[in-house]
């Protein structure tokens, strides 16, 4: 397989603190790769290193076939970077920003102008093209920022938390843009704190915590790592919940977990199918009335919890959203 990005044993320290402790990754050309991790995991450090902004102290990285440490200029010709914080000039218009960056990417005046128009259209910024970026909303800035990273039609793009701070509509729009890029053969490395985002967009995901890759694989592979389906039941009283633990423990592969409300219990089932029926029978025999009975595939939340021992920040929101559906 051809890799657009490969990283081997990357280490980085700031003073005493080691923020990357031997990261290794391989990203197939034309795929979307998600770096998933909580605050301070080292996602931005990885992206900035690959975009040639940080020196490599230990380890090796190649991007688009070129060594990041020794052939930085070649790498820069082939990448686009959208940093964690929108990097556009607030005192220029949207169009001026794109033309400037196109010129600096050595497209030539003519082509830079042409490319700017194309991107303004793709990112739905035509109407705002002549307005100062200082007057743009956060979502518009982000779109312009993403457009800017595509100006030179890069082979590889890096997106550092591209949807943080965006509303649902902008987020979905951005996801579609990422998919379009991938379909066109561009390799995308994106970082995110949102499990759902990695799940939705990425062909493969690496879970990063404290400068280390905790797990890597397709979203499905990662979910399979934490066992089969999850059974979730909701009961009317906390007392019933306690009583339900016994029959549920009998069918689960791990101890059932009661959530903070004290009314909802979840338990991981064996990969086989008999578990659900057994659980239903067990609960009925114990005379426990169940208000809600549902089975779900394990989410990346579960993967994350299992691998890192702590939940991601948005877990409660994501989990709440899921049960409402």
């Amino acid at each position: 397989m051809e890799y657009a990005i490969s990283v081997e044993g990357l280490r980085k320290r700031y003073g005493e603190r080691e923020v990357l402790s031997g990261v290794s990754l391989s990203v197939a050309a034309g795929s979307v790769f998600g770096l998933l991790g909580p605050n301070g995991a080292g996602k931005t450090t990885i992206v900035r290193t690959l975009a040639t902004l940080l020196d490599i102290e230990e380890g090796k990285a190649t991007v688009a076939g070129f060594d990041v440490a020794r052939q930085g200029a070649e790498v820069r010709k082939r990448i686009g970077l959208t940093g964690q914080y929108a990097a556009v000039d607030a005192r220029l218009t949207g169009r001026e920003n794109l033309v400037l960056l196109g010129t600096l990417a050595h497209l030539g005046r003519q082509r830079a102008r042409q490319r700017a128009e194309e991107l303004l259209e793709v990112f739905d910024l035509q109407e705002a093209a002549n307005r100062l970026v200082g007057t743009y909303s956060g979502g518009m800035r982000r779109r312009l920022d993403l457009g800017a990273s595509l100006i030179a039609e890069p082979e590889v793009i890096f997106l550092d938390e591209p949807t943080t701070g965006l509303d649902l509509i902008s987020r979905t729009a951005l996801w579609n843009m990422v998919r379009t890029q991938a379909e066109a053969g561009v390799t995308v490395l994106l970082t995110t704190q949102y499990l759902e985002e990695a799940d939705q967009l990425a062909d493969r995901v690496a879970v990063i915590d404290q400068g280390q890759v905790m797990a890597e694989g397709t979203p499905t592979e990662l979910k399979n790592k934490v066992g089969g389906e999850r059974l979730e039941i909701t009961v009317e009283t906390a007392e019933l919940a306690q009583r339900a633990l016994v029959p549920l423990a009998a069918v689960g592969v791990a101890a059932p977990i009661v959530d903070s409300t004290g009314l909802r219990i979840s338990v991981a089932l064996d990969a086989g199918t008999g578990g659900i029926a057994d659980a239903a029978t067990g609960l009925q025999r114990a005379g426990i009335a169940v208000a809600d009975f549902s089975v779900r595939r394990p989410s990346l939340d579960d993967v994350f919890l299992q691998l890192t021992g702590h939940r991601t920040e948005d877990t409660t929101v994501a989990a709440a959203g899921r049960t409402e559906r």
Binding site: A73, A87, A90, H106
Partner: protein, 265 residues
């Protein structure tokens, strides 16, 4: 190689667009000098005595030199701004010549300085200041001031990239430029000063620069009978000092750009 020029030109254009969008910037640069011409030239002028001439004719070079020194602040804050809002990261990820980022900015600041100086010369003329040298040497005086301004924009780049925080840049740049401006022959003839202060002031490069400008403009030099060595050869001394300073500061600022971009904000 030609990319240095096209990249610098593109960034130069960016800064000129900023000036066009915000012409008030010219006012903020010239407001202080206008106040100084007014206060020193008119109000205190009558009670200030310089040998062989009018105080207003004497003070113009000093006021304009101080205006050039203030570049360190504006440029420093501007560079730090790009650094802090991520634009430098973006530039660094592009296949452009990185030196152009500073070259484009300092070139644009030079243009702002030319406009500001011409404006101030006009204000001076309106208030009664007159150069008495040839047209060529008058232009030479302006050029010497511009060289000072250009050196200070590079110093501003160095300070801005090293310190990053606008407030800190402001106070450090002030702490550097204020003594340079006032512990010099910029505003008062230095032989009136107490012994050791006078010695410092006579070797302060700003004294040589303002004396050089006065000489070129045919304005009173005000150093009395026994000037120090730098003041006897003010033009060559200032030229050499400023060129040597540029040769030191430009590489330092370029290095600061590289290492500043490698840090996360």
């Amino acid at each position: 190689m030609s990319y240095v020029l096209t990249d610098s030109a593109a960034l130069f254009g960016r800064h000129l667009t900023h000036f066009k969008r915000l012409p008030q910037q010219l006012i903020s640069v010239t407001l202080m000098p206008i106040m100084f011409v007014f206060l020193f030239g008119y109000l205190f002028g009558s009670s200030m005595v310089v040998p062989d001439g009018k105080y207003l004719d004497y003070i113009m070079a000093g006021i304009l030199a101080q205006m050039m020194l203030a570049n360190a602040i504006n440029t420093g804050v501007g560079v730090a701004d790009d650094l802090n809002n991520g634009l430098v990261d973006r530039f660094r990820s592009l296949p452009m010549t990185q030196f152009s980022v500073l070259l484009g900015r300092t070139a644009a600041d030079l243009v702002l300085n030319i406009i500001a100086l011409l404006f101030m010369v006009l204000v001076g003329l309106l208030m009664g200041w007159r150069p008495h040298g040839s047209a060529l040497s008058t232009i030479g005086g302006v050029a010497l001031l511009l060289l000072l301004g250009y050196t200070m924009t590079w110093l501003g780049c160095l300070i801005g990239l090293t310190l990053r925080h606008p407030q800190v840049i402001n106070s450090v740049a002030m702490a550097v430029t204020m003594p340079l401006a006032f512990l010099s022959a910029g505003f008062f003839p230095i032989n009136n000063l107490p012994g050791w202060v006078s010695a410092i002031a006579s070797w302060n490069p700003v004294s040589a620069i303002v004396t050089g400008v006065r000489e070129l403009w045919g304005n009173p030099v005000g150093y009395g009978d026994d000037p120090s060595w730098p003041l006897r050869h003010p033009v060559p001394v200032s030229l050499i000092t400023l060129i040597v300073l540029l040769l030191i500061i430009v590489p330092l600022a370029t290095r600061a750009y590289r290492s500043a971009a490698a840090k996360t904000t």
